[in-house]
């Protein structure tokens, strides 16, 4: 496998010559199982060493931003769930917060708590999917079954709460549509007790595992400076040692009320990103416990007019989605439909770093790096 000296003998050959006798162009995807959807990567190789790569994306492009211009504010809300479909709730939260900002409404405290609970559950679910598939890509099958078993418990709670498991559309502009069901708090508490030992289980399988360490240590290194230059956010940025999380930096939806840590790594390699995400799952459980304890009584919807006509203006609102900073830039022209909705997708921006992370690595490492970036093509392509 790769080691650090391997990385230093990097890329002397970026002189514009593309195909000489030693160079090979390899097409990976769009239907390669390790590309997590329909990502096509064109690799330039010298033997097994990656000289550079080009991402070909857009296979899942549905024109979400264009659709938004033809829907009312409320009608567009379910569409955002289809972007990052493994963390649909986070997308919905970001959109609702953005529109609420535009119309100057704040969700009531109880709604905020429900939002936090559902979103943190979703974060764990999203990290579960990431862990299972990422580990599967580098050769271990068992964790996939473990993580999907645990994610199932979360999806069950979602199903009981709002009737849907994946694209939930759990929140509405101004609060939540649904009151919590009978036994919701008990279910979440039970889940917290259930999942904590399970996270230990993942760690037992992987953290000290020789093969896992060989495949991930010093693979796909991205240092903090590069992360910032490339706009990379989320666990990838934190694994590089930059302690930045929007939930702390610019709290939204009442996150300032909760006590939690921002886990950071040091090396910015694939192994650190694994550790950071695992630690984040634990922090999410911590937030869940506090939220369940402190959930206030009260209304779950703010007063929102039936026909939404935000005043003319524009806002940019972003949240810490499981994958990084998810932002919505909405321009209102005073009508019932948004004049422009721009989604700032974390996966899209993070994917841009793939080239830098893979240069000098082996083809097998590309698979590991795609996994560790935790991209969802629905969000990359929108």
């Amino acid at each position: 496998m790769s080691n650090s000296s391997f990385y230093e003998t990097d890329v002397q050959r970026q002189d514009g010559t593309f195909l000489d006798a030693n160079e090979l162009v390899l097409n990976m995807g769009p239907q390669h199982p390790s590309t997590h959807g329909v990502l096509r990567v064109v690799l330039k190789l010298d033997g097994e060493k990656v000289l550079g790569l080009d991402c070909v994306i857009g296979y899942l492009h549905r024109g979400v931003e264009k659709i938004a211009e033809h829907r009312t504010y409320a009608q567009f809300a379910p569409y955002v769930d289809r972007m990052d479909y493994v963390a649909a709730v986070s997308n919905g939260l970001g959109y609702c917060l953005a529109v609420e900002k535009l119309i100057g409404v704040q969700a009531p405290p109880r709604a905020e708590y429900i939002r936090v609970i559902i979103t943190e559950l979703q974060r764990i679910a999203s990290h579960d999917v990431w862990l299972g598939t990422h580990v599967l890509d580098v050769g271990a099958i068992t964790p996939l079954f473990y993580t999907f078993r645990d994610r199932e418990e979360i999806l069950k709670i979602f199903e009981k709460y709002c009737g849907a498991r994946l694209t939930t559309h759990a929140f509405r502009i101004g609060g939540c549509q649904y009151e919590t069901y009978e036994g919701f708090e008990k279910d979440v508490k039970k889940f917290c007790d259930f999942v904590e030992p399970k996270i230990d289980e993942y760690e037992e399988l992987l953290t000290g595992n020789r093969i896992w360490i060989d495949r991930t240590k010093n693979v796909g290194v991205l240092k903090g400076k590069d992360c910032i230059e490339l706009g990379v956010t989320g666990p990838v940025l934190r694994a590089a040692g930059v302690k930045w999380d929007l939930r702390k930096a610019q709290p939204y939806s009442g996150y300032e009320k909760f006590d939690f840590e921002i886990p950071v790594g040091t090396n910015g390699d694939t192994y650190d990103r694994y550790l950071v995400r695992i630690a984040e799952m634990r922090q999410s459980v911590k937030i869940l416990r506090q939220a369940i304890e402190g959930i206030p009584e009260g209304p779950i919807m703010a007063k929102v007019p039936k026909v939404l006509k935000p005043p003319v203006g524009e806002v940019y609102v972003s949240i810490e989605a499981p994958k990084g900073e998810l932002g919505y830039f909405i321009v209102s022209d005073g009508s019932t439909r948004p004049y422009r909705v721009r989604v700032r997708p974390p996966s899209f921006v993070n994917l841009q770093a793939l080239d830098k992370m893979c240069r000098g690595a082996l083809v097998a490492d590309v698979v590991a790096v795609i996994g560790t970036l935790d991209i969802v093509l629905g969000e990359v392509d929108r």
Binding site: L230, G231, W244, F329, R344
Partner: protein
Amino acid sequence: MTGTDMPEETKGTDQSTPKPNEQKLAAEETKTVEVSASAKPAELPKPAADAAKTAAPTAAKPAAPAAPKPAAPGAPAAKPAAPAKPAGPAPTPWASELVARFKARYGSGIKEASTYMGQNYLVVDESIVMEVLRYLCDDEQFDYCVDITAVHYPKREKQFDMVYVLYSFTRNERVRVKTQIADGKAQPTASGIWPTANWLEREAFDMFGIKFEGHPDLRRILLPDGWTGYPLRKDYDILKQDTGWVKANLGIESGQ
């Protein structure tokens, strides 16, 4: 931060330059800073800022009188929340030292500096937008380019709004820079300032047809290379595209 002693040291040599970072704007921002001190962003822009002190001392001058007051010691993180929420939905003028510095530096090039819903933005003339962005990145520590996008206003003479959303880790502050550009006019690329602009500008090109001068790799990114038209323009006709495609590729009338 060494906020306490730095001003004294620099006073003798270069009175006019306020330390172009931290506190000033943090005073306005109600949020906390969570960037670790060891993190790269804190130290990155320092040399650049120093260079700027010598390079453009005049520019920073007018801001100096206001500078002493907030140069308080310690972390700006613990600032008590003083939510200066705008009352109405109308944009209010954004008064800060950053803006004062900008006005002094670029004069009428800064067309508007406002706050809307607690979010600050600058509207600048298209001729100086790259200078402004470069200055924001190098000297004002807006080192993270969050997003670059455009908005199409077909009825206007300058049809596009280019929007740059920037964030500073050191200040924990966001600012939007907007400029208006005409259709068909090439906009200089920001990818020399932030590499992340590469794909963001490619997307803007793909969706709006805005050309970026000096961009290293200006191709369509989400749509296929042979696509006609730019979907996020207001005059892009989805139905026409659809029926046209069906006719050309399937040889039948579209059922739409």
